[in-house]
């Protein structure tokens, strides 16, 4: 009996040890280095040309993701090889190079380029070959008419309607909500698109639009525009700016001894505006900042640390991870999830899977079953506080202890 009990115990122990070993060993086995013929994922970035500054960010983010995916299981057990080409910031080059990626390099999958014009040029190629194309930087969702093109950023299908209301909601929450607004915008397609939405939504909510003004993209002389803003003296200034335009406008306003009461900037150069003496309390659009609650999202701390290290090594001017970099991370997270979900590299199956599933990304839970394959909008507002950008709206995404400060 004792022997029987002993034998039983030994069997149990051995079985348990074997099972325990198997359980412990399983993740290691699953994490075994992918092998076999690499899965080629092709894409272009504007590594040279006028958009080159952003490409450095995207490239680092993509490389982080490819390494991470390969450190797991690659795509279906095969290593991922990122075939990156330089589209020189030109849509015609983007178009030609996607032809190359698909017909010469014979990539299995593609990732989208950066900026609306190259994306649309590449989208035509992707459509002809039935390739899934995920992109993170097209600001006008309605132009994404290809049913296998997917956004990696939560713009929502109608950001010209949804985002103005996020801004107006935030403004309505301050002690003295604005009753008047001035809308200025660069004549850049995505900025102009949002500005027209802002004008319309403001009027719909009873905020008087005192001035709607468009200026040429890349304008350097804001003296006359600043004079008109000062004359209008709105409660809220909305600027559809790109790059350094906001800095130049605020400087021109300062020269007129005028500080706008509350001011929002659409796509400014984040660093220069945050560090500018005129940039204090400036508001801006975002999907994510390197604070809580975003840093608690899966992998985010690791991505941030990795990004900082690589960006420093690459001599990038801003080494902190931001929404741009996270857009690219989100692209790869979507692709990985879709390949694994569909258990296939077939574009049709991947597209079908994306349309019917949600994907957890650093930019939140994304779905793609709405118009133009867009899901819920998740735009947020950040504000310069003590020379740093902090998410201030919606409140649940505000950094701990941070509140929207009204001027």
């Amino acid at each position: 009996m004792i022997e029987q009990i002993g034998a039983w115990r030994r069997r149990r122990v051995l079985t348990g040890m074997a099972a325990g070993t198997a359980v412990l060993a399983a993740p290691a086995l699953l994490r075994a280095a992918p092998s076999g013929k690499p899965v080629k994922v092709g894409g272009t970035l504007s590594l040279t040309g006028f958009l080159a500054q952003t490409a450095g960010i995207h490239r680092i983010a993509a490389e982080i993701m490819v390494e991470e995916i390969n450190s797991r299981n690659g795509f279906l057990g095969r290593p991922v090889e990122y075939v990156l080409l330089d589209d020189q910031s030109k849509p015609e080059m983007a178009r030609s190079l996607y032809e190359k990626l698909i017909t010469v390099d014979k990539v299995d999958l593609i990732q989208g380029p950066y900026a609306t014009a190259p994306i649309l040029a590449a989208m035509g190629v992707a459509q002809r070959y039935g390739k899934v194309m995920i992109q993170s930087s097209m600001g006008i969702p309605k132009l994404q008419t290809y049913d296998r093109a997917f956004p990696a950023t939560p713009f929502g299908p109608e950001p010209d309607k949804t985002y103005p209301n996020v801004i107006l909601d935030a403004m309505a929450s301050i002690p003295t909500p604005p009753k008047t607004i001035v809308v200025l915008t660069s004549k850049f397609p995505s900025a102009q698109f949002m500005a027209k939405g802002m004008q319309k939504e403001a009027e719909a909510r009873g905020v008087k639009v005192m001035l709607y003004l468009e200026y040429e993209s890349g304008n350097h002389d804001f003296g006359a525009i600043a004079a008109r803003v000062k004359e209008a003296n709105p409660d809220f200034l909305w600027v559809g700016s790109l790059g350094l335009e906001s800095n130049l406008l605020l400087e021109a306003l300062r020269k007129l001894d005028y500080a706008p009461k509350n001011h929002f900037h659409l796509y400014p150069a984040p660093g220069p505006l945050a560090l500018s003496p005129d940039g204090d309390r400036a508001l801006c659009s975002t999907f994510l900042e390197p604070d809580e609650p975003f840093m608690s999202r899966p992998g985010m701390k690791r991505y941030a640390a990795e990004f900082k290290e690589r960006a420093t090594k690459a001599n990038l001017p801003y080494t902190t991870i931001d929404a741009q970099a996270c857009g690219m991370i989100s692209e790869w997270q979507m692709l990985e999830a879709a390949v694994n979900g569909a258990v296939s590299l077939d574009d049709a199956k991947i597209a079908t899977w994306l349309k019917t599933h949600k994907v957890d990304t650093v930019l939140g839970h994304l779905r793609f079953d709405g118009p133009y394959n867009h899901g819920d909008a998740s735009q947020m507002i950040k504000q310069v506080q003590h020379k740093e950008w902090k998410v201030v709206w919606p409140k649940e995404f505000a950094a701990p202890g941070v509140k929207l400060i009204a001027s």
Partner: protein, 583 residues
Amino acid sequence: MAMKVARDLPRLVAALAVGAFALLPTAGLPAFYDSFLYLVLFWVSLATSWALLSGFAGYFSLGHAAFFGVGLYTTAVMATKFDVPFLLTLPAAAILPALLAVVIGAIVFRLRRLRGELFALLTLAVTFVIATIVLNTPIDGGGGIFMSAVPLPSLMPTPTGTFYLLAFVICVTTLAIAWKVSHSRLGMGLFAIHDDEDVAEAKGVPTFRYKLAAFALSAGIAGIVGGVHAMFVGFITVAGTFELTVPLYVVLMSVLGGSRSWFGPAVGAVVITTLLNSFNSGDQAMLGRAFVGFILIVAILWLPDGVVPAVRKWLKRRPTGAARAGAAVAPVVASTKPAGDRTLLEVRGATKRFGGLLALAGVDLDVREGEIVGLVGPNGSGKTTLINVISGHYPLSGGSIALDGRQISALPAHDIARRGVARTYQIPRPFMNMTALENVIAAATFGGPSRSPAEIREESLHWMAFTGLSGKEDMLPAGLNLHERKFLELARALATKPKLLLLDEVLSGLNPTEIDNAIRLVRAIRAQGATIVFVEHLMRAVVELSDRVAVLNEGKLFALGAPHEVMRDPGVVSIYLGKAYAA
């Protein structure tokens, strides 16, 4: 029969090659090659079209993006806003920019000061103006134009193949136009304009009309290229269209290949586009661009005239096996008509003002047919100005000039040249990029009576021989000495078979032996029955050559008569030597 086959064979091969290239998309190659070749053909067409005006005529334009952009937006607007089928938009995409160029040219080309860098800046400004108009009107309005809904006709099995075919047709047509122009009267005129526009006009080149034609052709081609590119790119924005890349690239391509050659810009475009596409991998992007830049700098430094002219020059240096046969000199029948009483040139009250300066103050002068009139006077007396107003280089401020009884004072210089007035310059002004023979042929083509190219060539060779320039036909003017350049001026003038020859200090700067040669030459010219007005300071030559001498002083005709009488006139002596000395 065999000869005919041998003659036609290259054409047949060329036609077959063109046909084969046109059908490349049906060869089953990966679509990328269609796409890449589209970009190559795109740049070949753009660079070649730029060279039609800027390379051939030397009017350096930085505004090619304007015409490219107008064509691009013409197609985009017609196709998206008016539902015009894509292919039907293309003629309009060519015509509108061409018309725009004509309008701009009609204003700009009338102003002599708008040459060189001013023209470049003006065309650049035109680009900005057009971009501003497009951006601030419903043409674009800032939102861009998305072309995805515009159907692309299926001319080839794939859309990329269709783009390739369209680009190929435009490219072949553009190259054919460039070849035709460069081998035509128009091209010769444009090359002359490039080298010296004032001289070209004085030699009979209708410079204004030719520049307009080149500008319209250049803009029209850029426009249709833009029209096709609108569909290729798919999403049109003002910033992406009217950017500096287009003018900078076409300039670089043309300069690299050789902008005066019909084929040079194409070579430059192929080289640069291929290089730029050879370094597009993510790892080499920056390094590749730097390498391309380095190659271009080296090529431009070592081959300042471009690759094609350098290769041509190198080929010419190679021994051809047989020495160039001496050109047959056509006999020119000398006119035996003596100086008669018929008045060929009538100058009445010729007045020319330059601001407050009165250079000619009512000069009256008759020149009889077959006569040699020496025009003398101290510096600043108005001699060269009189030559300039007779030849049309300067418009008259007052008075009139008639040739053969017909008023010519209101005519442009090229028209006066065509009516039989030829001139030389005190400091020779040959077309520096043309050989000596080409210089003479150009003058004969535009200034003389209508003749076949073969006749013009034969007569040009004759006049080169007549002026002692045999054997120098293929030399560039830079290789000739002053004496030879002066005689080249004469050969150019004589080749036009002028009724009236205006010689401006043809003897200045020559040594005594060369002067004797020149005097003999002018006598020989006179023996041909030419009517000559010549400005000269060398009194020995004036006395020896002139039938009559006209003395100008302070813009007025001071004396006119037989050489020996005039030269003994105390008034004339005092003008030359000063009153105190004369007294």
